[in-house]
Symmetry: D2
Subunit: 285 residues, 4 copies
């Protein structure tokens, strides 16, 4: 088990009489992730409506008046990913997928899998289905796209990335998701906070990774290869980035870049260690 | 109230040892649409798994063996759309939208609303919010796009349509949905069977239309302008066409074009009339 | 040397009072291709203005009145491609390229080389420059794109093809041209008539191939791999298909598909043989 | 007549053993623009090869060694645009266009006119042909696109701009060019240095504007509306920005933003005045 202390500070300056915010920044509560303690502070104090959707996304809706708005969330979170042997994981035929997983086969805003069928079949169609095919897709994306900050923007989709071959974690993930879906492997995006990111990547940040459905469960892979996946604290889960923006803002608002901190809390006596790299498949639900 | 007799025949030739099908062709059962009688016939007889999702889409999952597969569905369906006065309908601020409606503000595969913000604000931002603004969007789309069969394909999205200005009902709908979302008006697609289509459009076919969320409910508009909306029999409901293909096919399969029939059954004594054009807003749920 | 008899029949029905046509269908006259005899017949007889541009494209401009217009061109053409040893051909540094070749480094309508820099460098940047690198690009395109009639249209560009991986000769050529330019290798399109096309491709048709500039000259490669390049009769030369449409039509005109015939005329006594496959580099100017 | 003093400073740091540069920064010499004096200074002194193409673009080709490279060009330039009455200018039918103007009807990298036919015909097809239709296109672009620095990049094309409706001068120009070509009006891009730019636009910069072919000559329009067109000093002329980059760089080179100065030199005694706004059509050749 791993324990992480996470905090995020968001700062806004609302310029209209009121501004509306939909935020997904709180730690998700799932079978493998529990919140030990948490606190949300809004300055000035305003009401926040809360909603947790079926994917465990914890949506905060806030209406605030003209002027500054600061949002601070801090939490101590336990994560306990199960590690499975990739060799044992199989792709699930469409005929046997749970019905609520079928929607992760369809193309979405940033994952135009419908346009990548021929490519996916040519490149990966001949491989033996299973975790190692999925891992081969992850490796392909990691090896054919260059991590390049600010080379893309919030409109960039998998189509752009397969052409231009540069991007950030979100672009790597969208491309990997699109390829999986083109092969009829359900895939979706998880946004997380990344402990253990390559320091060359700079300050901690929200980090987008991929989940694929194999052998009845969702498994996590990081096609950008910059994180230690066992140290990922889950925030949101969705079909792609369009489903889980950390902040959707309505009205004229100036935003500062979010400030995020994350630290592991090791307590060997309690069986709590540091997140470590693993070659196992990481089961996230 | 209106009563419609609807049937669809699908014909496939499966070339792999097995083929998998996800079909959404049965009449939805909603508060405003009820199924009087129905029958599904599969030839050869094969098992079909059924699932009705939260949007009332009735998914059929079929695995069939090599060879021909014929699917026939026929039903008698009552629809009873409520007609409201458009003048009374208002847009709902983001701060007051039901949480499960928020996802219809996000961009999706065929409705890249995130790229149309400036256009939408310039063209419609100054109009008074409400049904008539939505109707103005419908009129704009109808007047700026030409209905042209076979000018587009299943990869065509709202971006393509705003550039090329030709398309079929699905393209009209994707563009209207994208514009609405860019203005923070929740919008989605309904696939239906169209009684009353302009005979110039040829044989009855699946018909894509738009639903927008106003004053707490969903209202139906047809931006292609070829249907009598009160005569639309609902099949599917989703964020866009990616969510509700009438047939998603996995494996090597030859398809024939679906053959659809639809007829009104008038029974004045029972208060059952013919679908009529209306200038009222049509509430669909 | 090879001798080919070529004819093309174009049929139009002009529906406006007049229709304007810009045609590039006549055999080009170059250092390696000479016209033994030719005849152009317009029915009804109308005036045709002629213009031969610096790339030897023979433009016909015709204004015709309402009604049918038939255009027949037939020619006997000698082609005498020089065969060079690919091993001896080198890429020319930008600093040494002829000035009038520089424009073939720039992106064009259907060859968005500016978006493929990273891809081209990753895939081909480490190879030794020269004919064999260009040949490797040709092989990559041939092996990663599927020839599929009617899978694309006249709006399809190299970007689409690298995503969707299907197309016809023109799409193969645009993709190869874009990759070459991304590596600073001048490349352009030649439209031709193809003797020796794989019969599976059907009737003779206009065929798009690629020319690259190496060692001071232009060399021809066919990335779709369906032709015998020594049997290609040159019609047009340009940056991409936008420069050399066989017919640009202005006004409301109904077109029939062009009907093309091409046959080799062998005359061994005169040293005239049949076009043969070759592994040599084919110098076209 | 107007006289302008223009200078540009370019600063590079070459990181490979050598770097190659293709520059188009010198004042064009045309029938309406003459160079009174000019000086090019390269530091360190390196050879520059020169080439003036048929469109009067003055290409400089430079190969420099590792280390810093500074390029300074300064000139005094007289411009004498002829002002014509727009009412007298007509569109030229395709059948009567000079042959070397026909290429400005074709789509190009950043001006995908082939995808905008329906839009152009709907919006402008019913207007009376001539200068005022062209002016209406200019007004449409200016009124439907927002000038927004850094909202676009060097990959942005007319398709993107008609969707996203933001951009800089180059984007405005590409969109206007595409619309003109879709209506069979020859159009191309001129890059210039802008005296008289709205000071809100910041320091002087290269400025992209449009030329259209009417009544036998080329006329200049600025769809971004930020310049005084009579004060534009011509640098380059081409089908779109792909033809006339002010600097194309080959090799690993760090670039600073070019520093440009431009000032009018008034000398009333010699008949040399300040550039003034005009409602006349500006003939540029």
């Amino acid at each position: 088990m791993n324990r992480l202390r996470y905090s995020v500070n968001l700062s806004y300056e609302i310029q209209d009489p009121t501004g509306d915010f939909l935020l997904i920044v709180e730690a998700a509560k799932t079978a493998r992730q529990s919140v030990v303690s948490e606190r949300l502070t809004l300055t000035p104090p305003v009401d926040a409506a809360r909603y947790t959707d079926p994917l465990c996304n914890r949506l905060l809706r806030i209406r605030a008046n003209k002027g500054p708005l600061a949002i601070r969330y801090e939490a101590v979170v336990d994560i306990d990913h199960r590690l499975d042997d990739g060799m044992s994981l199989t792709e699930v035929p469409v005929a046997e997928l749970p019905f609520d997983v079928l929607s992760y086969l369809a193309p979405s805003r940033y994952c135009e899998s419908d346009r990548m069928m021929e490519f996916a079949m040519r490149e990966f169609g001949g491989m033996r289905p299973g975790y190692w095919r999925v891992y081969a897709i992850r490796e392909w994306v990691r090896n054919h796209v260059r991590f390049l900050s600010r080379s893309t923007n919030e409109r960039t989709s998998a189509i752009d990335t397969i052409v231009e071959r540069t991007g950030v974690c979100r672009d790597f993930s969208h491309l990997m998701i699109a390829i999986c879906r083109a092969l009829s492997i359900p895939a979706r995006m998880s946004s997380s906070v990344d402990y253990g990111a390559d320091p060359a990547m700079g300050a901690p940040d929200f980090h987008a990774v991929v989940e694929v459905f194999l052998s009845g469960g969702w498994y996590l892979l990081d096609p950008s290869g910059v994180s230690i996946p066992t140290g990922l604290l889950r925030i949101g889960t969705g079909r792609d980035a369009a489903d889980i923006p950390f902040a959707a803002i309505f009205g004229k608002v100036e935003s500062k870049r979010p400030f995020i901190e994350i630290q592991p809390i090791a307590d060997p006596a309690a069986g709590i260690g540091l997140p470590l790299a693993t070659t196992s498949a990481i089961s996230t639900w």
